[in-house]
């Protein structure tokens, strides 16, 4: 296509390809974006050479500097089901609305008795919630709520996984989801004894495999024969 040079004035620039590209990228980022709610605590994990991605389907226990434990499940349906069971077990009633709202929250660190109030609180108020002392995890007294959360949450997450697997098999599609994994995220400065309590809670439930979340360390040559 030949074009006569326009006489005078600003040269006309065909921006169509650029705009196409811009919109393509916008669409891409919009579709891949996943919005996360702010975590109740900021935790700065230590760096390591660990290269395993955190599995999408996980049950996460976060431990902050003061040893408070926060609990979260990535699968929102499993989270709702877990809350229903916990509510029955601890005799703390939740409304259906609260359960749905709870499924959208990130990890929480309150006693189940304070959970209804925590769920109803506004997002800004949640950060400074008074009862936010971590999920109780006394390994000696029977008040180890974290243990119940992990046990029930884990069971529900596996149920969801199995359900998805059956559904995929019925549809004849390829099944890609992974089994839920247990992850521990912990601040670098946390005293190890706090982590030990959480790990003790896990091992009491006969769960021995975890992913410890770390930030990526640059460099370092590793021969990794385990892979």
């Amino acid at each position: 296509m030949s074009k006569k040079p326009s006489k005078g004035g600003a040269p006309a620039l065909d921006m169509t390809p650029m705009v196409d590209l811009a919109f393509l990228l916008v669409t891409f980022f919009m579709l891949t974006a996943s919005f996360r709610m702010a975590e109740p605590v900021v935790v700065d994990p230590p760096s390591s050479i660990g290269q395993v991605d955190l599995p999408d389907n996980h049950i996460l226990v976060t431990i902050d500097n003061d040893g408070r434990a926060f609990f979260g499940i990535s699968n929102s349906t499993a989270k709702m089901n877990a809350l229903r069971d916990m509510s029955a077990k601890y005799k703390v009633p939740f409304t259906e609305e609260q359960i749905v709202k709870f499924s959208g929250l990130p990890s929480f660190g309150v006693d189940i008795k304070d959970l209804p109030a925590y769920i109803d609180a506004k997002e800004e108020a949640r950060k400074n919630f008074k009862g936010q002392r971590g999920v109780p995890l006394d390994t000696i007294t029977p008040n180890n709520q974290l243990k119940d959360w992990i046990a029930i949450g884990g069971r529900k997450a596996v149920e969801m996984y199995e359900e998805a697997k059956i559904k995929a098999a019925d549809a004849g599609g390829e099944f890609k989801a992974e089994k839920p994994r247990y992850a521990i995220k912990c601040d670098a400065k946390t005293k190890y004894i706090y982590v030990k309590d959480v790990i003790k809670t896990f091992t009491d439930l006969k769960l021995y495999q975890f992913n410890l979340i770390t930030s990526l360390e640059g460099g370092g040559t590793v021969i990794d024969p385990t892979k």
Binding site: L13, T32, S48, L54, K196, I223
Partner: protein, 213 residues
């Protein structure tokens, strides 16, 4: 600024001249602005890197606490406050006996260089195994070994009873970071086996003595 190029849009073969066409030019500037604004927003808020993690398996406690298998070739790391790390080799001996002298602790550091560097210490200890694994790795890369054979051979090398077992113990002031650092260092140096164990009272006393001095 932005203009849609007015393409010829078919010829004017008909010959008959039509009424002057209305300009199809649209000012695209606001749209482009918006597109880029959105683009910038999504790029900046996108979380590309998923958090990385380190897989760790803890030992199941034996059914009978007295069933603890005897530890051969053990090296014990004791972690304490202020990033201090101590170690001793072999079994713990609270006092001199016929098998050997009383256990004393030596100190290591987390830095990469220096005489008492944990990294160098591990390098020295696992040299033989590392050389074996490296040799296998080279063979594997040169396609002389199948994937499965390679994995099996590496496992065999690691399971060599002559290799060390590393125990990691912490006192109540050690930080999580130190624990991860030690595990990391053990991973980097491809040691055979390592395990997290609870600290014993006499070990704790030794550490406290060292730290307070």
């Amino acid at each position: 600024m932005a203009e849609i190029a007015d393409s010829g849009g078919g010829g004017h073969k008909g010959g008959k001249k039509r009424a002057k066409k209305q300009s199809t030019r649209i000012d695209m500037t606001p749209m482009v602005d918006l597109a880029f604004l959105l683009l910038t927003f999504f790029v900046l808020t996108a979380t590309f890197s998923k958090p990385k993690s380190m897989e760790l398996t803890f030992p199941a406690p034996p059914d009978n606490p007295k069933d603890q298998p005897a530890l051969k070739n053990g090296i014990t790391f004791l972690l304490s406050k202020d990033d201090r790390i101590f170690y001793y080799e072999g079994e713990f001996r609270p006092a001199d006996d016929e098998k050997g002298l009383k256990t004393t602790l030596s100190e290591l550091s987390f830095s990469q260089d220096g005489n008492a560097s944990l990294h160098k210490y591990l390098l020295k200890k696992s040299k033989v195994m590392q050389d074996q694994i490296r040799a296998l790795d080279v063979k594997h890369k040169n396609k002389q070994l199948e994937d499965t054979t390679f994995k099996r051979m590496v496992r065999e090398v690691k399971a060599n009873p002559a290799s060390y077992t590393y125990l990691i113990k912490t006192d109540d002031k050690a930080t999580y970071k130190n624990v991860i650092d030690v595990i990391d260092e053990l991973n980097v140096n491809v040691v055979g086996k390592y395990v997290m164990v609870d600290i014993l009272k006499p070990e704790m006393d030794l550490v406290t003595e060292k730290v307070t001095n």
